[in-house]
Subunit: 488 residues, 2 copies
Amino acid sequence: MPEESTDQPSDAITGHMSPEEFRRQGHAAIDWIADYWASLDDLPVRAQVAPGDVRHLLPASAPEDGEPFDAVLADLDRVVVPGLTHWQHPRFFAYFPANSSPAAILGDLLSSGIGAQGMIWATSPAVTEVEQVVLDWLAEALGLPEAFRSDGPGGGVIQDTASTATFTALLSALHRASGGEARRHGVGGAGWRVYGSTQAHSSLVKAAIMAGLGEDAVRTVAVDPATQAMDVDTLHDAVVEDVGAGLRPLLVHVAAGSTSTGAMDDIAAVAEAVRPWGVWVHVDAAWAGVAAVCPEHREHLAGVEAADSFVTNPHKWLLTTFDCSTFWVRDRAALTGALSILPEYLRNAATESGEVVDYRDWHPQLGRRFRAVKLWAVLRTYGLNGLRAHIRSGVDLADHVAGLVAADERFELVTEPALSLVVFRLRAGDEATMAAMEAVNASGEAYLSHTTVEGRAAIRLAVGSWRTTRADVERTWRALQEAAAAQA
Amino acid sequence: MPEESTDQPSDAITGHMSPEEFRRQGHAAIDWIADYWASLDDLPVRAQVAPGDVRHLLPASAPEDGEPFDAVLADLDRVVVPGLTHWQHPRFFAYFPANSSPAAILGDLLSSGIGAQGMIWATSPAVTEVEQVVLDWLAEALGLPEAFRSDGPGGGVIQDTASTATFTALLSALHRASGGEARRHGVGGAGWRVYGSTQAHSSLVKAAIMAGLGEDAVRTVAVDPATQAMDVDTLHDAVVEDVGAGLRPLLVHVAAGSTSTGAMDDIAAVAEAVRPWGVWVHVDAAWAGVAAVCPEHREHLAGVEAADSFVTNPHKWLLTTFDCSTFWVRDRAALTGALSILPEYLRNAATESGEVVDYRDWHPQLGRRFRAVKLWAVLRTYGLNGLRAHIRSGVDLADHVAGLVAADERFELVTEPALSLVVFRLRAGDEATMAAMEAVNASGEAYLSHTTVEGRAAIRLAVGSWRTTRADVERTWRALQEAAAAQA
């Protein structure tokens, strides 16, 4: 990787780079990234270090005097790269992808250079308005309901993560259900109840804890063993039972693509089941939602018109550098009612006119960076057709993997493949399944993660990187076959 | 600003850039930033647009087919720049600085290129270990207590914002005070009480709302009218009264540099006042904490040994691109006890060994980017001496402004200057004060913000950008004088 000598740091006293030095070092940083990407195929996907290995390569204190930026680049190679699990590697199939594209990275870089704060419209109007427009674009591209667009009572916002979006949805639901009492007097002992399937993301329980409801407030609903989707009759019965017991049903979490197996809850049926009680319907499509840029991959969002809020993460499968979690609500008044605070130093004419959106009231944080630039750059440089081609490629590769699994009698699919996620196991049992996965992971050849389904271990293979080719999934499959054979 | 024709996008179908194209566009993006920065001095600081102006320049839908990245760069100039308030402008003195340096921007760029997720140690060990080391470096550089270092029971973490850090502190306090009952059963009607001065940041109330305690749980403590610091006797009396009424004192927010005037609560005295009741002491030094890199600017942190948690934002005054809010706790068990959730797909040997830190349990979010790179780059390329020179320059410029204010009989200082923040007004009254500020802001010459102190309007001038020179503050001062004269 590039390394140039720097005999004359631009300013030995303060460390500030001159404009010329910034250009030179900036070009070097870009080149470092390009070289790093070019090297990925030859690197072990999973880090090969033990706890403390990275730490021990670093000095105990910050330097008193500045070093040239080249020293940081050199230490990225020496200290950091060996300690990384390479999420951008073409054979990273664990968890879900955190798929970063050149366009997104450069968009985010430009946002850093601009360095504006978008906490309210008045602090930098373009930060807010570009975000509104880009969220409207994406809502349309995903086929989301008109009610989610910014020209009606709803609207979209970029959150950092789906965890924060789910938490924000819960606070909005509390505000609506309590008529504002919760923000004034707290959640008290009102007996609020939150529902999600056994497969709901862990952020639902975390949100209930953070909102002061506690883990006990989350009622877990059984799933259909075959599909892992929420059993809606069970949900309905649970709500009826809770209401009968004097509890207050508040929010239902709908997994439109669960983390474990990509299970798709039936949004329309869930919404219908809870309708009589005015329960907030939050659709968590963190991973699978972006697939809806393809008209043929929208089935899992059927019924989304009935949702109160919806989240999907372009930073997973839609090529947009983390963090970029897009969140929409049908009624922004519930959201801003829950979270608005207006200290004197942020009072301004635009806010008082009611003509603008102040995104500070749409999430827990006050400060916010100009994250819309990276999503704007992705949507424009790929175009919707480019994004569709990307999604289709992931689905095709997963279908190919599923075919390979089905054709090898030592393996079996655990659930039907969901979009770009394949969940499978060795017929020989949990121990063999985990050992095979661990052998592949330890080799560095590819990186997979595990889950349990109906109490049994399973391997997850989530495609989604724009770098992944058919050769990459076939190489990974051969490694799994060899690991299975080694156990026989 | 640079614009090159692109006759052959690297891949007309998918929009993916070839490595060569990424290098070319990456260099162009770096050059765009350098050119933008060079243009700042000639741009109006505050955006000159009306609501909707930016939005109306953008199409209603995302493009079907991809455009070259050059088109995005061109639209930054055409659409975005006129709609920005330029936070990196040398005469941006509003709010607090969001001070971004070349080193931080390039560090963040490299982090984007790496694109790793650090939710747990195992998902990319270097992300966690570099962060631990860099937070230890900064704790030492600021003179924070040993207990906050990662080799003891405490430790540091990068949060997105101080709002999130304060919220996290509150959740940790609830966990400790309730012995874990809060996370299991909710906050209920336990009568929790949170304390902060009338000058405490609005994020304290927001945190109380989000945690389910409600606005009513925050008891506001009066300040000394001259210093705007918390009246500790009043705090003590309030706690005694609340305990007598059966309420449960939970957390006290100590402003080590308030937003309005930079007021410094007495950490040691506050901690002493609440000690008998085991109240969690959270020090919010979001803006002023980083000044402690200079030994002579640590007075406001005296007594921090008694704090349970501490937050300061390198993304304000310490040259590190947003977001980078550094948060330390004395006892990480309270924090992780409050927030840990371990779904099956994140189980791993390193976590079970207890040898590693999983930062997912240190904040509300699950996913997290490699933010330590930018802070590492800043600490290394400036060195502590470079950072001290930067802080001292801000303080010196503020002292210079305070001298100019004191020398003009039409103006008066409202409070003693606090580090790099000067708060002043026109003797002619609130209307004249606001009109003078608005005239300067509207001219685009400089950008200031306002507050109220003891019920009267005041102008805040917060220095802190590395670009700001003596000439910039003098030019701003002349503009204020002219605005005052125009009213006379």
